[in-house]
Amino acid sequence: MKKTKVLMLGWEFPPIINGGLGVACLGLSKALSKQVELTLILPKSDPSIALNLVDIIGLNQQERIRIREDFQTNFYEELENVYTLPTTIAPYQTITETQVKTKQVKKSKKQKIVRSEFYKPFELENLYGNDTIQKVIEYATVSADLCMEWDFDVIHCHDWMTMLAGVEIKQRTGKPLVLHVHSLEYDRNQGNTDSWVYQVEKHAMEQADAILPVSNYTGNIAVAHYGINPRKIHSVHNGVEKVIPYKVDKPFPEKIVLFIGRVTHQKGPEYFVEVASKVLQEYPLARFVVAGTGDKLKELIETGAHKHLGLNIHFTGFLSKEKIHDLLAMADVYCMPSVSEPFGLSALEAAQFGVPCVVSKQSGVSEVLMGALKVDFWDVDKMAHYILMLLKDPTFAKTISENAQFDLEYCTWENAAIEIQEVYKKLLA
């Protein structure tokens, strides 16, 4: 049988990553490439990363790129003349960024995107920043022109940064468009549907032939808050790269309850601090560790101080993967109180280390990690109760952690790749 030829459009990719997106993109590419012919276009690729079976095209690595066709998507003109444009967009913020300011931008009809016959090599320092939108538009125009004479059967995009490109390529070639949704603006922006990014996502999902959210939870958001036809949606849960778990002896007697993630509203860190306060009243021999940074960090540190938890709640700031593993190797409980979590890969990582997990019901990972304790993110009493049970009862903790091991067997990128291929098949049939 002839292999399906997939044109994949990615944004983050190791080692240039900001969050879970790049990790997922790598895991999927690796697994898919065993079954399909895969060409992956990235805004920026590091020469050090090369995959056996994947043709990686980093736009930054290209010599001059010839522009042959006109940009066909008339999507920009459909937008209103005046719209709200964030001056800084960091969809997967890891930096302690001040709040995203918005300003009104007057979109002049006369001002068209400057086009010359030749583009310079695609240059960019960071994947995000003040001009993320400009980068996204350039990525769309350049990659659309680049792939015109290539032979492929299906277009596969990852998140809004590459969706414009996907829509454009579909319009030019008529090939089916698959959108892989790792995260939606509705979630990131606390339910705000007023932004340009939301509009891009909505438009692209409407144009797409298939949408692959990383969980039913995210798929439901696409239906409920973007009005997308549920028949186009096929959720594909993330896998997790196998690690060899190890244990580290703690240099102190207290048990560790761990939070890993960006310290932003979406991840619910303030619920973690509230839970810490409740747990410590009953079980003082515990340390609550917040690993990560974000716009809520300072506020959270002050809340911890205000609640007199200074000696039992610790903030590590951003940590390397190795340090995260060291923490997991010491931890007794992993807690993920996310307000809204498309997936939540870190819970799977914790489970790999045998750490029992308490995860929010408002997460994708709760759909696959059956052997985790689940609780609504706002139900801090129940969350505290579960954590106390895990801290006080080692047998119970062991059972929870062992249950999760069964789930992990199914959480592989290979399984995700199989599901994706089925979607391709349907589209190409």
């Binding site: 240099p251 102190f252 300072k298 101080a305």
Partner: protein, 397 residues
Amino acid sequence: MRSVTLCFQVHQPFRIKPYTFFDIGKQHSYEDEGHNKLVINRVSDLCYLPTNKILLQLIKKYKGQFRVAFSISGTTIEQFKLYRPDVIDSFIALAKTDCVEFLAETYYHSLSSIFSANTFIEQIEAHRKLIRSTFDYQTEVFRNTELIHNNAIAETIKGLGLKGMITEGIPSLLESQSTNNLFSPAQTSFPIILRNCILSDDIAFRFSDKNWKGYPLTVEKYSSWIDKSLKKNENATIYVDYETFGEHQKKNSGIFTFLRKLPGMLIDTYGIEFMNPSEVIDYHEIHSVYDAHETISWADVEKNLSAWHLNSMQKEAIEKIYSLEPLIRKMQIRKHTEKWNKLQTSDHFYYMSTKGMSDGEVHQYFSPFASPHDAYLHYMNVVADFELEVRKKKLFS
């Protein structure tokens, strides 16, 4: 007779190092030795040695007429002994002139006057002992950390047999009275010298400020202001960070020339004498009551405890370190007591201040940490480790 008292605060804390969660339980030394040594070396070369040299020359030149007082914290003297014994020698040389007074304070430049009465007294005694052994000098006059003061503190100091103390002259407490007099607290009779904050800050903060209407501050101008400020039988106390000379106000600002010329101008032109604090107390009568029913200090615009004890992080840090007191006293382990004392140094809490405006800038200028939150996190990690160390026996038994 009209006089001027010159007092210099010499203080360097044992700053703690960036101390992460991963250090807790493993790393039991908390000080950033490299950074502390660097600061001591820099300030010694820019300020302490050259200024001591100038003062010694002036004392010799004016044959007893020029006099100065120092408050040197215990943590500073310890660091001189560790890193710069030559600075100790230069202070000893000054002490031998009999024109230099050393003031008593808390050894660790702490806030113990507010948060632990017993520790307060112990730290004062430790400091007096240190000054005696280092400079062969018996202290008589007290000044609290950053001039923190209230009526109760004055009572405690009186009880220790000291003969007087120095604190900040706050206009609202003085009402219309001149700061250049000797005062007493409300309930008891005890001599209190007040710092003349205007004349002091003219040098300490405004000397190099080009936007200040007094700029440039010449010796002639400044001496005439002192002259104007002093009525008959009054004494103006000018009390500044010693680091003003060469460190805060750089050499090229002309601060050293200013210092060299000041005594001559005051003595010869205006007939103003120099008097040390203990002499002021001997010579002057108590003029009136200075009723500090609430705690004051010389720090920040508010001149109260808000530089160290305002936001939730500062309050939590202070609460946690002093909560260890019963345990420390019970254990009586010298190593632990010393670490505990060092963690009380007020600077740790000063770095955690989140004040904005010009006060915030001053806090940040002194801080070795990138932000108040960083200062707090590292400090609390240190205290977490220290608490483990202290409790160890109990926990693992």
